[in-house]
Amino acid sequence: MAYIEAHGLRKVFGKTIALDGIDLRVEEGRILGLIGPNGAGKTTALNAILGLTPYQGELKVLGRNPWTERNQLMCDICFVSDVAVLPRWIRVSQAIDYVAGVHPRFDRAKAEGFLARTSINRASRVRQLSKGMVAQLHLALVMAIDAKLLVLDEPTLGLDILYRKQFYDSLLNDYFDRSRTIILTTHQVEEIEHVLTDVMFIHRGRIVFNRSMEEVESRYFEVSVRPEQVAAARALKPIHEREVLGRSIMLFDHLDHPQLAALGEVRTAGIADLFVAIIGSQAVAQGAR
């Protein structure tokens, strides 16, 4: 079942094209990483999905139009826009009371359970909590909501590595199951790599790469090419080449492992490498034009 389906999704701000005709399909039970440089259109795409901004084109989220049917949709969708949006004046207990009061799918006991694992004091105001604690609180509120779709836009921005790791661990262990879908954006690509089931690169309002992680792992390899093999390797048309400590590292798509092993040491390409290869080369090409 498709949780999100978009055809020709467009969004224009004045003369800036934020989304340039996106086609997209996200199934149930996926964890999709939406990755792109600053200003690529990630947040605009998420805002359209969340019914926060009007758009052109076709978009269905959980079978509904997010702009016109936003109120019903918000019972089944949850989102964390970034770490700093919890109101600073609210007390932890008030935040729980309020969400319990207005959200039909909020499980208060679950939220209390998550909070019990932290050192967050129920009587504290958000402004008294550290940034990491605010993120923990927000995550506890969100994870206690039985939503079908969870959208996380830079949920760990400005948090230290311990909190970031903890954040994704609880998301995977305590929240994710096969009937939910999570979409997340972040700049710390390496940290979420092992979490994702799918990855999508967005650049200048277009989706330039869209693969499942299995596909990524079986298709893309990086080879640290031995100096004498460089010419032979280049003949195989790597999609990207970079120099590290005097050795050429080349990224290949769709080549057999043994063939590559003859050229040098082979390893699976990481998302960050792919990102640099795909977005970086496009940026260079566009710059050269």
Partner: protein
């Protein structure tokens, strides 16, 4: 595809079956939320009432001489004399909550965009309409009722505070208490608050709410911008129609004279005349329009 679509519909129907939260409950929690955030709604009038009571208690020192002097006056004059501080207390508290309402409205839909917390509120299934209505209910309903409650309690405390000095000087409370028509004053006050402060002034609050949903900065300047229209009109055409509208709205209908003591105003205000006045209904229509625009704006406006 059809099967999929059916599954989605079924599951969403299912989810609606589990998930019913009546709109009234969302409104209730949204109003509570406003009271959590804006404690000045009740703290300011409470503080003013406390200060007033402290001053009033000190003033009871003069009461015995006043009582003796009043013995020569007629019953009506005595009533006017002894009710004076009560009218003043009511006026003071109404002024306080008026100021609270002004600042509350200006921040209501602006503050949440400035601190980006609107993104949190919008992540919950509470519609823009519910949110704006909850915010509008503060100046339109909560503040008038709260002002009434605090003022009436203040009245009773005032009355009790006169007891020690009256008893100590041997004058007895009967010299003063029967002249203070608390029931009458309170009734008039409630009527005045609900008609004038809630209904007649509604366009002001709703304009300020609209402004707070609109402004990217300095909502205060937008809030008072209608004054600029009045000035431009005066300069350009040497007329004062718009200023007249504003003054009429602020001062009230003719039969509801603007600035004498509020309780006197009660005497001039006939319920039927008020409820059938075109000014009331046109004001309410304009208020509804302002609120509708505020709801739309909250939908479209991004955090600042």
């Amino acid at each position: 595809m059809n099967i999929q679509a059916n599954t989605i519909q079924e599951s969403s129907q299912q989810s609606q079956a589990i998930a019913v939260i009546p709109a009234s409950r969302r409104l209730y929690w949204s109003v509570r939320r406003e009271l959590w955030e804006n404690r000045s709604i009740y703290m300011a009038p409470l503080a003013v009432a406390a200060l007033f009571l402290a001053g009033f208690f000190i003033s009871t020192g003069h009461l015995p001489s006043q009582v003796r002097a009043a013995a020569a006056l007629s019953a009506a004059q005595q009533q006017e004399l002894f009710e004076q501080p009560y009218n003043f207390a009511a006026l003071l508290l109404m002024g306080t909550t008026g100021i609270v309402a002004f600042f509350y409205c200006l921040d209501a839909l602006y503050g949440e965009r400035r601190d980006r917390s609107i993104l949190f509120w919008k992540s919950l299934p509470v519609s823009d309409l519910t949110t704006v209505l909850a915010k509008a209910s503060i100046p339109l309903l909560i503040l008038p009722l709260l002002t009434f409650a605090i003022t009436v309690v203040t009245f009773w405390i005032m009355l009790l505070l006169t007891a020690p000095v009256l008893l100590a000087t041997g004058l007895g409370v009967a010299t003063v208490w029967p002249h203070v028509g608390l029931w009458q004053i309170s009734q008039g006050l409630l009527f005045h608050l609900l008609t004038v402060h809630a209904l007649w002034y509604a366009p002001f609050y709703c304009w300020w709410l609209l402004v707070s949903a609109w402004a990217k900065r300095t909502p205060f300047l937008w809030a008072v911008s209608p004054l600029a229209i009045a000035v431009v009109e005066k300069v350009a055409f040497n007329t004062t129609h718009f200023a007249g509208i504003l003054i009429h709205r602020f001062g009230g209908e003719d039969y509801n004279a603007p600035f004498p003591m509020p309780m006197d105003q009660m005497a001039h205000l006939h319920p039927l005349m008020f409820l059938t006045s075109s000014g009331l209904w046109s004001g309410l229509a304009v208020s509804a329009l302002f609120l509708a625009v505020a709801v739309r704006l909250r939908r479209y406006r991004d955090p600042i």
